[in-house]
Symmetry: D2
Subunit: 273 residues, 4 copies
Amino acid sequence: MLNQPRRHRQTQPGDWVQLTAVRGHRFFFVRLTPGERLHTHKGIVEHDALIGLPWGSRITTHLGVPFYVLPPSLSDILRETKRRTQILFPKDIGYILLRLSVGPGTHIIEAGTGSGALTTALAHAVGEHGRVYSYERRAEMQALAKANLALWGLEARVTFHLHDIAQGFFEHDVDALFLDVPTPEAYIPQVRNALRPGGFFGALVPTTNQVSRLVAALEAHGFAFVEVAEILLRFYKPVPERLRPTDRMVAHTGYLIFGRPVLEPPSPPQEDA
Amino acid sequence: MLNQPRRHRQTQPGDWVQLTAVRGHRFFFVRLTPGERLHTHKGIVEHDALIGLPWGSRITTHLGVPFYVLPPSLSDILRETKRRTQILFPKDIGYILLRLSVGPGTHIIEAGTGSGALTTALAHAVGEHGRVYSYERRAEMQALAKANLALWGLEARVTFHLHDIAQGFFEHDVDALFLDVPTPEAYIPQVRNALRPGGFFGALVPTTNQVSRLVAALEAHGFAFVEVAEILLRFYKPVPERLRPTDRMVAHTGYLIFGRPVLEPPSPPQEDA
Amino acid sequence: MLNQPRRHRQTQPGDWVQLTAVRGHRFFFVRLTPGERLHTHKGIVEHDALIGLPWGSRITTHLGVPFYVLPPSLSDILRETKRRTQILFPKDIGYILLRLSVGPGTHIIEAGTGSGALTTALAHAVGEHGRVYSYERRAEMQALAKANLALWGLEARVTFHLHDIAQGFFEHDVDALFLDVPTPEAYIPQVRNALRPGGFFGALVPTTNQVSRLVAALEAHGFAFVEVAEILLRFYKPVPERLRPTDRMVAHTGYLIFGRPVLEPPSPPQEDA
Amino acid sequence: MLNQPRRHRQTQPGDWVQLTAVRGHRFFFVRLTPGERLHTHKGIVEHDALIGLPWGSRITTHLGVPFYVLPPSLSDILRETKRRTQILFPKDIGYILLRLSVGPGTHIIEAGTGSGALTTALAHAVGEHGRVYSYERRAEMQALAKANLALWGLEARVTFHLHDIAQGFFEHDVDALFLDVPTPEAYIPQVRNALRPGGFFGALVPTTNQVSRLVAALEAHGFAFVEVAEILLRFYKPVPERLRPTDRMVAHTGYLIFGRPVLEPPSPPQEDA
């Protein structure tokens, strides 16, 4: 499982292992079980051949395709999580976790669950004593997310709700709340009801029109320290003698909005403030 | 303390509280203790006046300056941590935590400690069962970082070493290792010796020349999946009717380099790969 | 004058010269006239001392401050032009000229004139056989722009109108038209009336709300090939051994919108088109 | 031809016309000649059917594909110019023209010619009284560029040299010089010999290593005001109610380096200057 790194030099039965292709970053995620067998389109691997290996070893499938035997990587898992229309990228997730002060013990609500990419990162970060409450209206998306979380061994930390958040959240006084839904501005009263005063609110929306509407709603409902940002991630070709950015990049995933509900909000911010 | 959110509706003795100015984001960080008094250049606040308040309340100092009573924010703390020459910003720290799969239980080395900004974020993320080993050569910087970590109540999770990493690290088989030093390429054999095979390596350097040297060193010492990236964070003025980016932004903090030590590395990547 | 580079190796009476400080890029722009004298806050320079010098020479004022004797630079002039609230930067101007196909012989309208930065670049580009029609409502801004254009020797190519464009433009069938006004969406019928069908329209607005309104107006009035873009210019410290971006940059000047009026417009673009 | 906009309301024999597809931006460029016929993969168009039309009209090919009848667009032409390996984009070309103060009457050298994209923009900008000297070593590239320039009607303004610039340039005292070659740092003495003192030098290189080498060469050969920059162009989906950046963008074309040869250069710049 992601959150239980083992520090033996060799892999052992029960270890969660990420087999990553030497070329192309494609990977498989398995829990080592004597006698089992992993079937992939790149060939078959016997679990027994993976047990007792030094971490970082290179193995090949029965078709001769080489893979590394690695501890699981959270960012690889996030990239792999089957994408929905509105994608949360690692670049955004890392900043969201930080801005919402998510850490061991945090109780956090998210909506919607989607395919579970953010859910995975949250479950990883809150640890065994924290809790993730994840809301979704589409049963098939929830099923997909549950399967993903189970695959990474993190399902026990998540409470999944199949529920329309327009009806409100079931929890109260959570530490943080994140909305990844098309009309976050429509649920701000519900958010205030679920999020502890002084807690951390965040949302991601893809268009500038949505940003304007959400910022207005936050101001109307007593949120202070409202912040709007976007994160651009630029990769370089890692060639020492010809270092340069890659030719193309992801130009936009969404705008991030943050704020904190307070009891007596400040008067609306001035443009020049 | 950052990692122990309390879910009472009112503040209690022993709670860690962040007093944040209603205007300007300036804040003070205190542990509520009956009878104590906080002295700031914005005025004095009696702890007793802060105990028993609903979270999110607005109070004023004896000079009439208004503050909110809030749960501590990790990103505010990181912004506040006294800066050294080479700055790690929240935008970079969030991505580093994710790429290195840092979470509850992780054992991680960092060098140098500097003023302790990354140390704080790491100590927050690894929880009570994880461990941060932080190396620094300058005694005065280490003292500053120790004071910062103590201020946030996170010092028990960190082992501080006053040590030149050219002599090697004291730990072995840690899960992850991050270098924020001027010549990271000089310490890659030491890194390999301390980091478990398959573990997570990361570094930040400000210049392209350093990137080239570090990537070459990683390739020479058996690191796979070497990645070079930079993160740009762009803020918007949160005014619904006149939404626009701020006029100026931080254009550069540093380049981030990641890689994973493996036992049989691939042949060097081709430029077109 | 900007558009009449002389190819003598030595400066001559009547030459336009840019004196640029060796340190700090501050410059003065003079037309060499025997017997005249340039007074600056960095000291006095006799024109006679500048005549007959090789281009690129280094001279000093009577206070000992060193300057280079250079052919005038359009981009330096644009940076220097006294700024109004809504600034057109060289990065935007270069792209505007290209996208509007401005070159020798072009007839172009701009509104508003402002301090004349874009006017200068347009007058430079259209040459002696082209024409710039520049509209402004504020007499004092027009006076400033006229003074600037006269300083650069380009005033003969510009027709200045002190006029509210809500009343329409005086010209018809111009090749291109650029709006740098707060509510460009309000003048699109007037634009259609002045711009030849198939001609080039452009505008710059600072906020996303203005972009939405202008794009809607262009679609409503038969413009094809509508394009919205922004240009980010990032500078590097030119130090070969420590190459890196500057720490801070201009994050936003405005959004650029382009389109071409056609006789039978396409049906409105689909979002996925 | 690009530089001779005609201001008749209807197209006439001899006019240069750009037929642009209503959907998809594909275009054809023709000089209207009675009796001629344009063959395209979207169908056939008789020139006679194009003569006497209002500019901006919509016509269809014999296959029913709709096109607009437009004045030629420089930026469309630049995008269309058959690309070589190292691409100059409109975003870079616009800034280059401005930084090099290229306008009517300018004499400028470029190397290498490549497919002629920059050559086209330069020939457009310098007008009938300016001159472009374009160097290339590969005969087939030069042939392609000549064909492109002839297509746009601009070939008379360009002198093409099939020549290795390591042997020096044939011209002296040109106003500006631009290098788009793999090792610009190797030709700086030749550049100094061809470019007037105080003139404008520019170059584009794709890697940071090349930037370092070129900046060092410029400093070693007496160039002042050395500047390194890159331009990022970000497009938005032009949908008023859902305004947002496109999902992906060109992340890198190259770094732009500028400088001016002077007679007594300043001492090398300090990093903190």
